[in-house]
Amino acid sequence: MSRIGVFLCYCGSNIAGTVDVEAVAEMARTLPGVVYVETNKYTCSDPGQEGVKNAIIEKGIDRVVVGPCSPRMHEPTWRKLLADTPVNPYMLEVANLREQCSWVHKDKAIATEKAKDLVKMAVAKVARLSPLHSTEIPVHKKALVIGGGIAGMQTALDIADAGFKVTIVERETSLGGKMVMLDKTFPTMDCSACICTPKMSEVGNHPNITVKSYSEVESVSGYIGNFEVTIREKAKYIDYTKCTGCGACETKCPSKVINEFEQGMSKRTAIYKMFPQAVPSKPVIDAEHCRMLQEGKCGVCAKVCPTGAINYQDEDKLTTETYGAIVFATGYKLIDWKPLYPEYGGGKYPDVITGLQFERLVNASGPTEGHILRPSDNKEPKSVVIIKCVGSRDPNKGKAYCSRACCMYSAKHAHQYLDKVPDGRCYVFYMDVRTPGKGYDEFYMNTVHDGAQYLRGRVSKIYKEGDKLICKGEDTLTSQQVTVAADMVVLETAMVPADGIDELAAKFTVGRDADGWLVEAHAKLRPVETNTAGIYLAGTAQGPKDIPDSVCQAGAAASKVIGLLNKDKLESNPQISRVNEALCQGDGACANICPYGAISIVEKQFRENSRKVTRPVAQVNPGLCQGCGACTVTCRAGAMDLMGYTNESIMREVDALCQW
């Protein structure tokens, strides 16, 4: 027979003010199973807690009901208190006598009556609870970072500096991501290579970091602390141990391929290094365009290679490792504006370029060695029009959201153009200028003072007349139509999630919002975590942002990972679902409904009526189950029950309220 102790609290006058605590105590003594009732002025105070502890030990109480404030406030306190007593911390029920009783009802008699009911419910429930113990989950002290851009690299560095092993999986042939493509970075105008390449080499040489370039995640299974990830290292056809990165092969390779890194404004060879400062600074053979691999002719690079590092028979390598935590730093790409904006020529006019193409033009290692020459005829454009929010803030044609960073980098582009073409004229068509960071607005003001002509309005049409690009727009401040004859137009296009993010996220059961960005656990309070425990986000994978914000998030994600990997084992939430295998039909309705994928259907052997039977039953993974209970209702047979809120305890709680 259970020995229930009821500890009611005055909470000073908060409860006692409108609830006759003694009368409730009297009623409590008459409840079945209750052996000891005590009232206390401040139960949560140290003397109060001591009193409770002694009473429990003295009276041999094995279940506790506390009648204080809301469980959201002090449930952890009572749990810690019970941890020092022989009573299991989960043999506890809290009756909310303050926030939902004394504070909200004026009439003392009615409030007392309600308090009695609440205590009755709590006693009925605690009588049916069973002791719960959290299980331990091992934590593998290794982290996986997907994506080698600035966010991925910063995360990896922070984790590695904390002494944990990190693997970076980068899809491209080198680290650097989008940042390394840029020329200068706002607001300080330091050259992007100068601050990005040192980080890349730091990552490349860090003892705790293994870089897997030209690789992708093949498959993943497992849960927090124990992610089994298979990584496919695509064939590079070059033996990196032998290759010294001398680049002889690149000079001799006959086939010409559009250079994605240079945004299609120049050509590269089939065997190529993305850019001079690439890390790993060794080339890769692009199988699709290599004549040797496609038609079996050529083989020049093998002949020329001083160390014989070329190996045409190379294959993809699959490696599987276990990681404790995973960070998504998969970055972004620019929206493909051509099909969306035929009015800007839809790609017909080569001189209508994107922001990244402009970055390559103005970049010293770019196709034009830093001289701003327009792609059509390599002439220096004397008048440039920059159009902002192309695809952003445009629900009809593009994306509804603002891509955050373009206001700053369009001001930067204008500044760079006016800097490099002193006699040039630069027009910027904008809707709003949003420059909220430190030193941001001052940067924008400098650009305006440099002579950039900011016209508030959208460009409705661009057409070619002669060798000029006529931009028809409006200036809403003077409410006049404006037509600018430009030599070159730069479209600051919207940021959208990187290619292939859908399949990747699906593999990890990470949610994606309507626009395809990875969904954080809570927009304000948990921006770098996801709903899947052990998986974190950093950088533009979670949404459009600029480099400073990405680096901040990288640090945050790293700190979360470090916090997780510091633990040798994880305490799992004990209030999780439990399967009664005798009742389980194995139809998997619970597995479908579980938002955390915590339930799996496994074949198990049972002895039934002296016969051995193997049949499918559900199995709950304590690491993933968050205790929402959706599976308990889906399971018609009632095989699935949620510990802490069992069917029986809720039923009796309902009965207790209805005078049963």
Partner: protein, 349 residues
Amino acid sequence: MMKYANFPGCSANTTGKSFTISTNYVAKKIGCEFVDIPDWNCCGTSAAALTSPELAVALPARSLAIAEQKLPGLDVVAACAGCYKSLRTSLVYARKSAENLEQVRELIDMPYEATTDVISLLEAFSAPEAREAIAAKVVKKLRCLKVACYYGCAMVRPVEVCDFDDPEDPQSMDELMALIGAEPVDWAFKTECCGAAQQMAVPKEARPMIERIFQNAWANGADCIVTSCPLCMLNLDMREAEINKARIAAGKEPFDIPCYYFTELIGLAFGGQASELGIDIHFHPAEQLLQKRAQDAIELEKAEAAARAEEERRQAELAERIARKKAEKAAKEAAAAKEGADVGKEDAR
């Protein structure tokens, strides 16, 4: 067999007279029959829309209802872009929901199912069957005539209503012009508005809209502008002189860019005379260009013929030289063979 219910519109026999004449000419030639909708009424264009939305829907709906009963199964063709826009807008409104259809029925107080479709004349003539017929009937290709195809805005926008060709860069008229041998020019103002009614309302502000169109066409090397809407024709053709006067005053060079209906040029290609097609009653003199280009075409043909002749001659000469060399070689071999034979004989002796 191409048969359509025709919605003439108010401009058919007035400002758009030559459009109707040339259309009938072409239709007769390619065996396409247009049956006028009996007792059709004005489509209301922008005026009705300004007065009340119900009127803008009801006016066109009445004609469509009559077409539905009297000419069942025939699509309605509206030559003028203005009529086409109004009819389409009313049709799309009625088809949107049962309530709308019910409301329209009440307005026009006639049975109406909104089943007959509405297409523009350009769409009718772009149908594959029509294009084959046109190609077959072409007698005289309008060579070296550079045309700027001007669709105007009502023909292609808004997409939800018109749903015909590409709203930004339509090609159907360009293809027809290429079919009859003309050279369509790639220019940027295909679908730029000509100012329509604003030319009457606010002439001072609206005139530059027309000038821009001429300017872009001229800049891209077009000889003339081809259109399929009487209102655009009116604004371009009739007001070119006025714009030229203003340009001369401003010290700019006047334009000499005549405007045609696309059916007029097709008629020409069928061998029709300018007078038969109504080209003679344009505001801006339109015939000299045609004659000049006809001359150019003839010289071009002559030049081409000459070039072809030249080419044949060269080929013949080349063939002949090869033949001669081959003959010499044969002769040399024969000679060599003979000597061999003599040598053989000497050995034999």
